[in-house]
Subunit: 473 residues, 2 copies
């Protein structure tokens, strides 16, 4: 048996051992999902720049089609078309604030991926675990297509298709397809598909459950079958468009990009697309007739099609915006699927928040008013009524609130404030507020990245395994 | 001042200090020769395969456009479009035969390039220095365009344009343009341009001196000017053809290649080119209407244009063959320029040896008979008479022989035998004698190489400097 197959078997076994209490067997989901010949076919790549930390250590792994930035270490793992962004990690000397604690960071934080299999997964941000400040670990974990592991150390976990864990440390958990979890610290939980759960213990708890049959239309992943559903189809249909950006070494820029903005060379641009000042477009983003106002960002695996973003809009990792007009400061959370129609466009008013993992898919015109929070599955006006609330109104809640499949308890103002604070932080990190001299963020820093490619052994017993690679300043 | 400029100044100073006794100042030759912006522009690349040793360590260097294979270490150096092939090095446990000594090799040999500036230089083979078995060093050395450093450790040296040092350890030497030196061990020598010198102390000594004005027509390099001459023009005229092979990630093969042969993806193929069994075509080789018979090889920086090589022909690093027909087992040495004309072709009979650094440039038809040795500058029949000898006749010489600008002393048979032995070794190493199962060489092993690209910091103080890169099995 070749080494890459042994590695695969070993990872599957380790995850299953971790999940034994949940009686969860990952085998039927991952067997034959990515044929081994696909893992030999694609090159991996890493970025070098004067504005990003640099420390890559890759050992005994397959990194096909994966992208690395910053400080990350990968060993005994299979990373298929994944993005490991170690560019927002904590630095030696930082002070980490956790409740009343101020904990000194004694070393530069690194992302450590060990004994794991990540498929088209995005790993980003710093670990928010006060117990492990210097090591953002992803260990004995399998994550499926378009999962996001965002500031979330994982040990012994399985993440389904389009699952997101955000600022949460988890051990021995299963996160269902299209579920979003931001919960601080969890262990030994099996989160069902389509759960959106945001909690800050002692402060608030937001919980939404997608109706299963309706969610299955959009995202479904059963044992022995590849992922299915409308969102999968949407992404697959546009896969070919990325072929060329990976096939050429130097790519010409086809549209004007202001000197304060950056359009990643691994993104795709089609039609009449306009990039404003301070705009960030990340790798694997897809723009088609997109109008991006000052300070808007379009993160990894995002699609903006026939849409206008007025400015300072956040399109978080994996979000899709189609046939829509967004006012300023609209936040569209992770993996949200937000689709109007050419003849029936969607409008989202300024300062509104589309919660992570929201599906808005309309066939009649729909307007989300300014300063609203929306969540769940919205296909028409009626859905909107039970799946949205004015931010001001939510701020007044101090006990509990139930609307449709959503249940909220705790302090509404704290929830709103946490979200708004985070949106400002995201805009800041991405360079939306750059004034020509100060407040540089990714939009300005990412202009100066050069990319190096890496490939595995092309033949022999180690076929598909990459050599040991160490890259340092 | 940027780091890359400091590095340049430091290398120039170190070489000048080494060459102080010769009163040689390299400054006027190398200043502004390669603008620093060129050094930021091109990626370097290295090969990974199951058939080659692997140990790369690159530190504080620029590696623009350079290629690496095998075991090599580069520090504090500028390597511009150079090839460092550490795939024919000695292995731990080998026994190195030197005269009556049998010296054990205690570690895998590595090429160490330190504090050096190599421009379009080829480094290959193992060091033949019995004093330094495990370290093939290139230190405090500058080499110019199309120099070859072949199994030849160098310390404190300057190699001119198209200069070759072969199986020779040198310290504090200047090797003039288009000079070839194979002399065992030399120090504190200033070899004038156009010298071809092959000696085995106590056995034989071959010495040829190109007539200076006639050589200058072909290769000239004066202080403050870029290299000039017909051979430089010839190469420059074909530079554009290589653009595409470096611009795309995966290149399609346009002509059939037998399963026992290899055509490097960084070579250029034009017109009706035929590749026979066991043929090796290396990176940066250029083929145009080339017919390559079984076991022929075309090494780095070689050009084969409108020519036929019957089989088992060696085209050594940098040799060019144009409008010529070569019988079987013809050897064309390093950097030779062998040009017939469309209406007046050149014929070279079987088993003939074209000495390294030979220029054959005819305007009337010319035939070099089989089993002959030719050298120097040959533009017509008359030149051929004073620049060739039947190998059988040379074998009979046991005192001395003078013909034109050539002087030979010693044992002719030993000289011929050394050459023939080496040609067989080259064919063997390149896989010419592969029988489908045994006697694999580069032609068979090079089919399974994947290439990784590396780039320098694109901006900032370290602009042009590559990060520290370590690649191991």
């Amino acid at each position: 048996m070749r080494e890459i197959e042994k590695l695969f078997d070993r990872i599957v076994q380790r995850v299953n051992i971790n999940l034994r209490e949940l009686e969860y067997d990952v085998n039927p989901y991952v067997q034959d999902l990515i044929p081994f010949n696909q893992m030999v076919k694609f090159y991996g790549f890493y970025g070098i720049s004067p504005h990003h930390p640099l420390n890559f250590k890759f050992r005994h792994s397959n990194l096909a089609g994966s992208y690395f930035l910053g400080r990350c270490r990968v060993s005994n793992s299979l990373l298929y078309k994944s993005d490991i962004r170690g560019d927002e990690l904590k630095k030696k000397g930082d002070l980490f604030q956790f409740n009343d604690y101020e904990i000194p960071v004694v070393d530069n934080e690194e992302i450590h991926v060990e004994d794991s299999f990540l498929i088209k997964t995005l790993v980003h941000n710093f670990s928010h675990d006060p117990e492990s400040l210097e090591r953002f670990f992803i260990k004995d974990t399998i994550s499926m297509n378009y999962a996001n592991i965002h500031g979330a150390p994982c040990d012994g976990c399985f993440l389904g298709v389009f699952a997101t864990v955000d600022l949460t440390t988890m051990r021995d958990c299963v996160i269902g397809n299209f579920s979003y979890v931001q919960a601080g610290e969890i262990s030994h939980l099996n989160i069902p598909p389509g759960t959106v759960w945001v909690r800050n213990p002692g402060e608030f708890n937001f919980y939404y459950q997608f109706p299963e049959p309706r969610l299955n239309d959009y995202v479904y992943f059963g044992a022995g079958l590849p992922p299915q559903g409308k969102i999968i189809d949407f992404v697959e249909d546009r896969k070919e468009a990325f072929q060329r950006v990976f096939d050429v070494v130097n790519i010409e820029q086809t549209i004007p990009v202001p000197s304060s903005a950056s359009l990643d060379r691994y993104s795709v641009t089609r039609g009449l697309t306009t990039i404003g000042d301070n705009v960030l477009v990340a790798q694997r983003a897809y723009l088609q007739n997109a109008w991006l106002g000052k300070g808007a960002n379009v993160q990894e695996n995002c699609f903006i099609i026939n849409s206008r973003l007025e400015g300072n809009d956040v399109t978080a990792h994996g979000a899709k915006i189609i046939e829509a007009d967004l006012g300023v400061m609209v936040f569209v959370g992770f993996n949200s699927f937000v689709r109007g129609r050419p003849e029936n466009r969607l409008t989202i008013g300024e300062n509104s928040i589309v919660m992570p993992h929201t599906i808005i898919d309309i066939t009649e015109q729909l307007t989300i008013p300014p300063n609203h929070l929306v969540w769940g599955l919205i296909e028409n006006e009626e859905d909107l009524e039970t799946n949205s609330i004015a931010i001001e109104e939510l701020s007044k809640v101090d006990t509990r609130l139930a609307m449709g499949n959503m249940f909220f308890e705790g302090n509404g103002a704290a929830f709103v404030e946490a979200f708004q604070h985070r949106i400002l932080h995201i805009l800041e990190a991405n360079g939306a507020f750059f004034n020509g001299a100060e407040k540089k963020g990714h939009a300005q820093k990412n202009q100066y990245i050069s990319f190096n490619t890496i490939q595995p052994y092309p033949e022999g017993a180690k076929k598909g395994i990459f050599p040991t690679i160490v890259i340092q300043p």
